[in-house]
């Protein structure tokens, strides 16, 4: 009796083996899409540390690898730099909504400068169109057609982007510290460290963050080769990203792309700690409005209602 119990019959063995083989093949087939990732995924990238733990040698090596990857993917010789934050500087932007005509030039200048994905479209700036005489964001429209732009007698326009908060809610919620506030007030993201959980998108009260739902696509001839690690290098699928006040430009003394593109001069940019700067003069002299001030995030984006 005991012998019979332990013995495996031929039929039982074959069925068990059949099931085993089928499950093995099924699970192998199920994970087969991972094989496609081998081209995009390297061990070096896997072992890369958070940006803030990198030594200068590490950075040099990583930047070289990224440049190689970009030139392989886009056929463009890019240069990844890492401009350090300037001392004694806090960046701020002032938008004069009295003079904004809603032409959306800033939106596309930003896309071009920051190598944003063209398809699916990622835009850092939203221009809200509101009825004249009302400040009601609930009825604001941000996908108004071109024909409704520039009609300053009917509507008024309010561009909204990342407010570079002094107490940023997006940084608080990040579970892996992939985003932080730099000493000059710019909130940045380490795209290689981001896990794509989208907590920051949910936490931001201004909808200042964007998510790459698909592989970002940029035409090769439109890629901006002047890149910085923390700002405008090409992003990956599953990355959160945001406006960085064009730190590859501003830390080298230049204006941001949106300020430069604005045809009416509604955008002003400068150093908040310098009493002689453009933004300080406006904040001192004009009526300044802060969007969602009650949330106490202390944004460094100010709105001014001034016609003259």
């Amino acid at each position: 009796m005991g012998d019979n119990k332990n013995k495996l019959s031929r039929r039982e063995f074959l069925t068990a083996a059949g099931i085993g083989a089928a499950t093995c093949v099924a699970s192998a087939a199920a994970i087969s899409p991972l094989l496609k990732l081998t081209n995009k995924f390297s061990l070096e990238e896997f072992l890369q540390k958070n940006y803030r733990e990198l030594t200068p040698e590490d950075k040099k090596r990583i930047f070289k690898r990224l440049e190689r990857e970009i030139s392989k993917k886009y056929g463009v010789k890019a240069k990844i730099s890492d401009p350090p934050p300037l001392k004694g500087v806090k960046y701020a932007m002032v938008i004069n909504v009295g003079r904004c005509i809603g032409c959306r030039k800033c939106v596309y200048a930003c896309m071009k400068e920051n190598n944003n994905s063209r398809s699916p479209q990622v835009q850092y700036i939203r221009v809200m169109r509101m009825e004249k005489g009302k400040i009601d964001l609930e009825t604001a429209v941000h996908d108004y057609p071109e024909s409704e732009a520039g009609q300053t007698d009917k509507y008024w326009y309010m561009p909204v982007q990342c407010h570079q908060c002094e107490d940023p809610p997006c940084v608080k919620v990040c579970p892996v510290s992939a985003t932080w506030k730099e000493p000059d007030g710019i909130v940045v993201v380490d795209y290689n460290w981001c896990i794509g959980c989208r907590y920051c998108l949910a936490a931001c009260p201004y909808y200042g963050r964007r998510f790459n739902w698909a592989e970002p696509q940029i035409p090769k001839n439109e890629l901006n080769p002047d890149m910085a690690y923390l700002s405008n290098r090409p992003r990956y699928k599953g990355n959160a990203e945001k406006c960085t006040f064009c730190l590859q430009r501003t830390r080298n003394g230049r204006y941001t792309a949106c300020v430069e593109a604005c045809p009416t001069g509604a955008r002003k940019f400068g150093n908040l700690l310098d009493a002689e700067s453009e933004v300080r003069k406006i904040i001192d002299k004009e009526r300044v409005f802060i969007l969602k001030e009650e949330l106490n995030t202390i944004p460094k984006m100010y709105y001014v209602f001034s016609k003259a």
Binding site: E12, A26, R104, Y108, E131, D143, P219, T264
Partner: protein, 204 residues
Amino acid sequence: MNRNVKLWLFITVPLCCLLVIVFIVSGFTFKSPVPPAKPLSSKWYIPETPRENIIENEVVVGNCWICHAMWVPIPDPNVIRPIGAHPEVILKHGKNKRCYNCHMITDRSRYTSDDGKGLLYTNVAQLCGRCHGIVYRNWLNGTHGVNRGKWAPKKPFDVTKFQCNYCHDPHQPKYKFRHMAPPPTWDKKFIRTKKVEIFKEGEM
């Protein structure tokens, strides 16, 4: 092995085989639903003020004296606009209809100024400031107007501060908008088709 187990095997083994086929086929035939990227039009992002190209390409500055000093006599100062003078210029500057309010009557390369010496083309903002004082003060402070270059200028040529006529046509100073960029593109289900309802006061 009892019968129940055997019955389940008849279901599970073919199911596994089917899944294998489904996974393999779907892995090879997967197509991204994202459409290919379209290039941006350079009109949407190239920085320009409304009259920048016109100023740089069309206006010849400082050559008015070729005609005005040699052949055209100095007109009567009481005339608002001499007949037949520059018919292509359409003047829509409000009450300011007299040519010689701005253009100096004795030297047409210059503009009028309070001290009578006349202003050169490069200082045209001072001319506008004679009437539009508040805007002129704001422009000096940097709250009105467009700057290009660097946000923290250290050398004199680090920053370009545009004069009034780079945006406003002096003869028709009302701002003219040139290029408008299209709205963001979304999936079709997100595109607005109806007019947005706006609450009127007292409805709530």
